[in-house]
Subunit: 178 residues, 2 copies
DNA sequence: TAGTGATTTCTGTTTAAACAGAACTTTCAG
DNA sequence: CTGAAAGTTCTGTTTAAACAGAAATCACTA
């Protein structure tokens, strides 16, 4: 697969954005390429297209599979692995959010809870500081619980809610001022 | 200011999390420390507490001010700058989201729009690929528009909506299945 | 079961970011 | 106007991640 200028711009930008959000540039570029590709690609095709080392592509594909964003397929009469990305963008977003919650938010909650627990028998930490940690715990818990609730909804329901935007508040008569 | 074990755990974890989300470790640590601190701190106090070079602290504080997360204050009869972090967590979150939208989402929208525009007179890019870029544009626009709408709501309204969780859908009779 | 194609793992190199320390600039007090 | 304190900028070093290429493993076919 050869990159046209448009594809190249897309892939490079995605790599750059990935980097800003803590995702390896190669990983993000490969993901972008697979998202664009109408058909599954082999590791070698990817390496050639993006001018990356074969080994680098292998590792990155493994990571993308770990995220659940890329799956492996096979073509009849072809021993090679072919890779394709989820193309449903809503699915893609939910997958990423779910995974980041698992990897980053949940451990943070654990850490905060432990801090609050230990704060009980701790004499040296300023009470105001303890209070701030507790506030942070409550805050992260609120966000996390909200997400867990939203996750139970149908995709179509979520889309409807999102399209309603701020009207949601009006309909529910939650708006105080304008 | 001396770090107690609890504070140290909190600050180190925050630094680690920052790194995973594309924020410099020192920047995240300093932000965590200022969030915890009941009173504003000078750059030197921060450097001593976190064992960072004075220059590093200076740069990081600049960055945090750029994000709008930290402000500069002065004490009477003291020439030194004192720094304090926003402590309202809701404010903090909105500030971060707003800033990331400005720095990352908006440029991405620009890139996607340009791709779609250029796709018009482009013969070499597969129509399916063009379609996928357009779908991505629509998707990011939907998310962005939703955010812009929610941003107009009062903080209290947002909190109420969030606390309602999935009940929102039920009340609006949007749920199809369970 | 030998041999080839495909993939992964290992190891060393490259690269970019993070950081420290020094030099420099600014600000204010006396 | 001078000197000291505070803050910033510059430059070189360190460190960690990203990456390439080689070696090793695995998987299948003939």
């Amino acid at each position: 697969m050869r990159l046209t200028p448009i594809m190249e711009r897309y892939v490079l930008h995605w790599g750059e954005m990935g980097a800003r959000w803590g995702v390896n540039r190669s990983v993000a570029q490969i993901h972008a390429l697979l998202y664009l590709s109408p058909k599954p690609l082999t590791a070698e095709e990817i390496a050639d297209t993006l001018a990356l080392a074969r080994s680098n592509v292998s590792t990155s594909l493994r990571e993308l599979q770990g995220w659940g964003l890329v799956t492996l397929t096979h073509a009849l009469g072809d021993r090679r692995d072919h890779f394709e990305a989820k193309t449903d963008l809503w699915e893609m977003l939910l997958t990423i959010v779910e995974e980041r919650k698992r990897r980053e938010v949940d451990p943070t909650l654990t850490m905060l809870r432990q801090c609050v627990l230990d704060a009980g028998e701790d004499k040296e930490t300023d009470p105001e500081i303890k209070a701030r940690i507790e506030r942070m715990l409550t805050f992260v818990e609120t966000l996390s619980n909200w997400y867990v609730q939203m996750r139970t909804l149908q995709k179509s329901t979520l889309v409807s809610l999102m399209k309603m935007g701020s009207k949601v508040a009006k309909v529910l008569k939650l708006t105080r001022a304008a």
